[in-house]
């Protein structure tokens, strides 16, 4: 099983997929409960982000077999999206400026 490569492809026990499937269900339920129970503030945002990252990680690592790919491919695919965070920081700063000028010159009205 561990030697499977290229020709025989990604071979992993079905049980592993079942476990991940179950975990994704549980994590989605938790995300939903955050909203259902009306949790607010920093706890809400951190819980939502935590469950989101755990779910995304499970999908990429196990379902998409990234955990077993060549390191060069892993770096080539996973590193560039991290740079989106830089873009997020830029745009967050830009939006703060936009909303500030809107409030200053348009008075907050529509």
């Amino acid at each position: 099983m561990a030697q499977a490569q290229a020709h025989s492809g990604q071979q992993h026990p079905i049980k592993l997929y079942m476990v991940v499937w179950g975990l994704l269900f549980v994590l989605s339920t938790f995300s939903y409960l955050v909203d259902y129970l009306g949790i607010q503030g920093y706890l809400r945002w951190s819980l939502i982000l935590l469950f989101m990252i755990l779910k995304a990680g499970l999908i990429v690592a196990i379902f998409m077999h990234m955990a077993w790919e060549r390191l060069a491919l892993i770096y080539a695919i996973l590193f560039p999206p991290v740079l989106i965070l830089v873009f997020v920081a830029l745009m967050a700063s830009e939006s703060h400026y936009t909303v500030l000028t809107r409030l200053a010159f348009l008075g907050g009205g529509p």
Binding site: A2, Q3, A4, Q5, A6, S8, G9, Q10, Q11, H12, I14, Y17, V20, W21, L24, F25, S28, S31, Y32, D35, Y36, W45, I48, L49, F51, M52, A56, I59, V60, I62, F63, M64, H65, W68, E69, R70, L71, A72, L73, Y75, A76, I77, P80, P81, I84, F87, V88, M91, A92, E94, S95, H96, T98, V99, R102, L103, L106, G108, G109, P110
Partner: protein, 240 residues
């Protein structure tokens, strides 16, 4: 897995692992990502480009939401459904999430049975994936219909900031398109698997190349990616 393979000695097929492997792969004079087929590598690179597209959409949404002076509608209430006289927040979205996750589960198992050359189980599981995907799109059509009836447009909505409408239709619409295309490809591939194309090495009608079961995994990469994008949309658009 290649963990057991150490640096190349007399055997040219053995490749180094770890960071040495990264350097060896990327500096190789032939093709990068040794042992990764071109089909799989190309799907990953396509998905990377798709990541940037969805990333830009979500960024545009973030920028619009952060810079508006008008209150953003509360998605928890907007997407609530009244079931049995009781208003349940986000229930349709939660069900859609579970449907899509289940489709990812069946797809992962289809890939597994594909590599075992069990064409009946593979085709059946791919068909189940397609049905779940179509169910998702159907529920999204229901959601769109409901919101359009309530007056949501790309330029306005009854609950506040107009940008909510454009963000909603852009993001969920683009994702729904991905799911629909995925369902179509799943059906085409399921037919090929069912017919035994990859056992008989039948040539494809378009490329006239012989296919093999790896295409199920490549198809799976696309499908899991669609589920992956939904994880982010669920968190940022519906829960945030």
């Amino acid at each position: 897995m290649t963990e057991s393979i150490e640096r190349p000695t007399s055997n040219p097929h053995l490749r180094p692992v770890g960071l040495r492997g990264v350097a060896a792969d990327l500096s190789s004079d032939q093709r990068a990502f040794k042992n990764v087929s071109w089909g799989k590598a190309m799907m990953w690179i396509f998905l990377l480009s798709d990541t940037f597209i969805f990333g830009c959409f979500l960024l545009a949404y973030m920028t619009a939401r952060m810079s508006t002076t008008i209150a953003w509608p509360n998605p928890s209430e907007v997407f609530a459904l009244t079931i049995g006289g009781e208003e349940i927040p986000l229930i349709l979205i939660a069900i859609m999430t579970f449907v899509l996750i289940s489709s990812s589960g069946t797809m992962a198992m289809a890939v597994n049975f594909g590599y075992r050359h069990d064409r009946r189980k593979t085709a059946a599981l791919m068909l189940a994936t397609a049905v779940l995907g179509a169910t998702f799109v159907g529920m999204q059509a229901f959601e769109w219909t409901k919101l359009i009836r309530e007056g949501v447009r790309p330029w306005e909505n009854p609950w506040g900031a107009a940008q909510f409408g454009s963000s909603f239709f852009m993001i969920t619409g683009f994702h729904g398109t991905h799911v629909s295309i995925g369902v179509l490809f799943l059906l085409i591939m399921a037919r090929k698997v069912w017919r035994g194309d990859f056992d008989q090495e039948r040539r494809g009608f378009f490329t006239s190349r012989k296919g093999h079961y790896e295409i199920v995994e490549i198809m799976g990469l696309y499908w899991h990616f669609v589920d992956l994008v939904w994880v982010f949309i669920f968190a940022f658009f519906y829960l945030w």
